[in-house]
């Protein structure tokens, strides 16, 4: 088996599972069987991905492509599909497959209240998601990437709307699709333009500077949507209406990271556009700070994590903006582990308590010690506690910004690091410590093994993955845009800030569950609603109004013309009808006249 073959298994095993579940209703309707099928194929995908990584380590990158769509003539188009295995895609395949497997396993426990038919539906969606994500990751060109990009968007829509009987879930699903689809217009136009300029969909294409800036800025629009960057981040908090494992997989670990992955992948293009890179750095840093502030004032545990995801994606994009593709990519992988872990742990809590609100939790450390431990491990990793995985990758990002003298984003990210520790400290304290705030919290208990096992696996990775940075570097440097050597410097400032964040959190929420005055005023200011309202206003006053006008014009102007013409003939006919007396001799008279006229004309013409 060659490396691309393993990668093909990684990509297409989930597709097989999705097809099986979609077509064979008997399997799908038996929820447990569906879960088994889905997890088996996810494991196959994981195995394929691991072998692809090993193959890449030994033999470097390789490809397997086939023609997908071609057209001839004077405008040749030749699109291929297949897998492109290199130091970036292979580890990413493995990360995605690993997290997905964990999440699917977790889901079997999490969703045990659901009817088996709807669980079957869930796992069909999950398999489809995994397939499309792997398709995106392994894409040999930007078009296939876009292909996967859009299907993950659609599966995200399906999974957010999984509990469609909840109106909020149905609405959130549509909202997520709208926002990302709006952003995807950028990617679509960008691709069309890229083809217009180069005749291909390669990320290695060479463009004129202006064209490169235009195309990459269009890509950035899509990235902003998919990776939930300000001001297109509004869908992500709402997406928490989906089941928590979905949030863990799609809206934290993998799908939202697709935007970052796109920028990593298209690094050769972005490198040609310095303006875009600067924009990206400021955008990422701004979002990192902004979302961290918002995370601080949430009362919903999942929303804390959602805003934290926005914030961390901002870190990655800032690093990419600084031109350090590896830092962003590294953080992408570690973030996938610890954020999935945090979400799953949160899911375990929510499963036990039956509510997302932190005000209903509290004191859970006695009831769910394992969950608490892994949650704290994830939080430390996220906050960049020295030695944990996030510490390594985040330091690399902050370093890369200082290297490139982007001081404003640098400062924002440092402040963000402090805030991260602060809000995670708050979340830990409010959730696991203090008194029980509800009846359910009093009777909470640890979940079963199907949920514990993924937690433990991910916790181990969240703690230890940082030490493999050098290996990842080794892999990633197989691509042509990761240069230099991996050097790790202990980021003292960031560490101190992170630690002080936890200390401040302890001071603020250690004894009381009351919000400090500062946080309350922040909440009042930064409540996400105002951005949302702006969009709602734009939708109602913009799109809906225009649509009403268009429909009105269609019915009462364009169509009215038709009706008026029709009526004209109808009325005319009503008059002309009087000519028809019904009397044979009148007709004869007319006939004779006609015959005479014809005869006269034919004789004397």
């Amino acid at each position: 088996m060659t490396t691309p073959m393993w990668a093909l298994i990684a990509v297409f095993a989930p597709l097989a599972s999705a097809l099986l579940l979609a077509v064979l209703a008997p399997i799908r309707r038996r929820g447990g069987l569906a879960a088994a099928v889905s997890i088996t194929f996810a494991l196959a995908s994981l195995v394929g991905a691991i072998f692809a990584v090993i193959g890449t380590l030994h033999a470097g990158g390789s490809d397997w492509t086939r023609s997908w769509l071609a057209s001839g003539g004077a405008l040749p188009l030749s699109v291929t599909f297949g897998v492109h295995v290199d130091g970036v895609s292979a580890p990413m395949l493995a990360v995605v497959a690993l997290v997905a497997t964990c999440v699917q396993l977790f889901s079997t426990g999490y969703l045990d209240d659901e009817s088996s038919a709807s669980r079957g539906r869930y796992f069909a969606y999950q398999s489809l998601f995994l397939f499309s994500m792997q398709l995106l990751v392994a894409a040999p060109n930007l078009l296939q990437l876009f292909f996967g990009w859009e299907i993950v968007g659609a599966t995200s829509y399906l999974l957010i709307g999984y509990w469609y009987k909840k109106p909020s879930a149905a609405r959130a699903a549509v909202k997520a699709f709208w926002v990302t689809k709006f952003a995807d217009m950028g990617l679509l136009i960008g691709l069309v333009a890229l083809f217009g300029f180069t005749g291909s969909f390669e990320w290695t294409a060479q463009l004129a500077p202006a064209a490169a800036t235009a195309v990459t800025l269009l890509f950035v629009l899509a990235v902003m949507g998919k990776s939930a960057q300000f001001p297109l981040h509004v869908w992500l908090p709402d997406a928490m209406e989906g089941p928590t494992p979905v949030s863990a997989l799609l809206h934290a670990a993998t799908m939202v990271a697709a935007g970052v992955y796109l920028v990593v992948r298209a690094q050769p293009l972005f490198a040609q556009a310095p303006f875009t890179q600067h924009f990206l750095a400021y955008l990422g840093a701004g979002t990192a700070l902004f979302a961290a502030l918002l995370a601080l004032v949430q009362t919903d545990l999942k929303r804390v994590l959602a805003y934290s995801t926005c914030s961390q994606l901002g870190y990655m994009l800032a690093a990419l903006g600084a031109g350090s593709a590896f830092a962003g990519f590294f953080h992408l992988t570690t973030h996938a582990f610890f954020k999935a872990l945090l979400f799953l742990a949160a899911g375990s809590v929510i499963h036990a308590v039956g509510s997302n609100e932190m005000s209903k939790m509290g004191g859970l450390w006695k009831k769910m010690p394992l969950t608490m431990l892994v949650f704290i491990a994830g939080a430390f990793s996220l906050a960049g506690f020295p030695g944990f995985a996030g510490f390594f990758s985040k330091d690399l990002i902050i370093d890369s910004l200082s290297e490139h003298h982007l001081w404003a984003p640098y400062a924002a990210l440092l402040l963000g690091a402090f805030l991260t520790a602060l809000y995670m400290g708050r979340a830990i304290l409010l959730t696991f410590f203090g008194p029980h705030e509800s009846h359910e919290a009093e009777h909470a208990h640890e979940p079963g093994w199907s949920m514990k096992l993924p937690l433990i696996v991910l916790a181990l990775l969240s703690v230890g993955a940082g030490f493999f940075g050098g290996d990842l570097w080794h892999l990633a440097s197989l691509t042509d845009y990761v240069h230099g050597v991996y050097h790790f410097r202990f980021g003292a400032v960031a560490s101190v800030l992170a630690l002080s964040g936890f200390v401040v959190a302890w001071v603020a929420w250690g004894k009381t569950r009351e919000e400090p005055a500062l946080a309350r005023s922040l909440a009042a200011f930064a409540n996400r609603a105002w951005v949302d309202r702006l969009y709602v206003f734009g939708y109602r006053a913009g799109l809906l109004l225009v649509s009403d006008v268009a429909a009105w014009i269609d019915r009462y102007i364009v169509d009215a013309l038709v009706n008026v013409v029709g009526s004209f003939f109808l009325l005319g006919a009503r008059r002309a009808r009087r000519l028809q007396t019904g009397n044979v001799q009148d007709y004869l008279f007319a006939m004779s006249l006609g015959a005479i006229a014809l005869a006269v004309w034919s004789i004397w013409r």
Binding site: Q585, F589, S592, L593, A595, I596, A599, V600, I603
Partner: protein, 176 residues
């Protein structure tokens, strides 16, 4: 131009035919009109003889004067209404009819007048009844057979149309 006997006969017979036709279309009593039609048809038969078609003249007398006229008289008598009580319809305009008739005549006569040079022909000897019979059964056989089929169809059709409806069956709704 000398007046021969043929010409005189022609003029007389033609005038009679014309007069007959006028009365056919103008006489207020239909029975009279039928009789006048008989006069017209009879005069035409004489003209046929003059034009070398004696067989046709015979047929004309037999078929028309004998058959058709009888039928017509039956028709007139059978449809005699119970007095002219309800004259709810308008009389067709005589002037309009006359105008059209005159116009048609003018056109026809004008055409004939324009083509009078081409019409300067001498009579050819008749080919005879035997020839006519032969040609009917050879050259015009298809048309002849079609005509016979037509006559049969007309006969059946006339019977079907004029047949009195079965009193059991409801007659079709009379609506206007």
């Amino acid at each position: 131009m000398t007046f021969t006997a043929t010409m005189i006969v022609f003029a007389l017979v033609g005038a009679l035919a014309f007069v007959g036709s006028i009365f056919t279309v103008r006489s207020s009593k239909l029975v009279h009109a039928v009789l006048w039609l008989g006069v017209t048809l009879g005069m035409t038969a004489i003209l046929f003889v003059q034009l070398g078609a004696p067989f046709l003249a015979g047929i004309q007398l037999l078929l028309y004067v004998g058959g058709v006229m009888t039928l017509m008289i039956f028709g007139v008598l059978l449809t005699k209404r119970d007095g002219d009580s309800e004259l709810k319809t308008e009389e067709p305009s005589r002037e309009r009819g006359a105008l059209i008739a005159l116009a048609v005549f003018a056109v026809l006569a004008g055409t004939i007048w324009l083509g009078r040079d081409a019409l300067q022909r001498t009579a050819v000897p008749s080919l005879g009844t035997g020839w006519l019979g032969t040609s009917l059964l050879t050259r015009h056989l298809v048309a002849f057979e079609a005509l016979s089929a037509l006559l049969l169809a007309a006969m059946i059709g006339a019977i079907v149309i004029a047949r009195r409806r079965d009193p059991d069956q409801p007659s079709e709704p009379k609506e206007s």
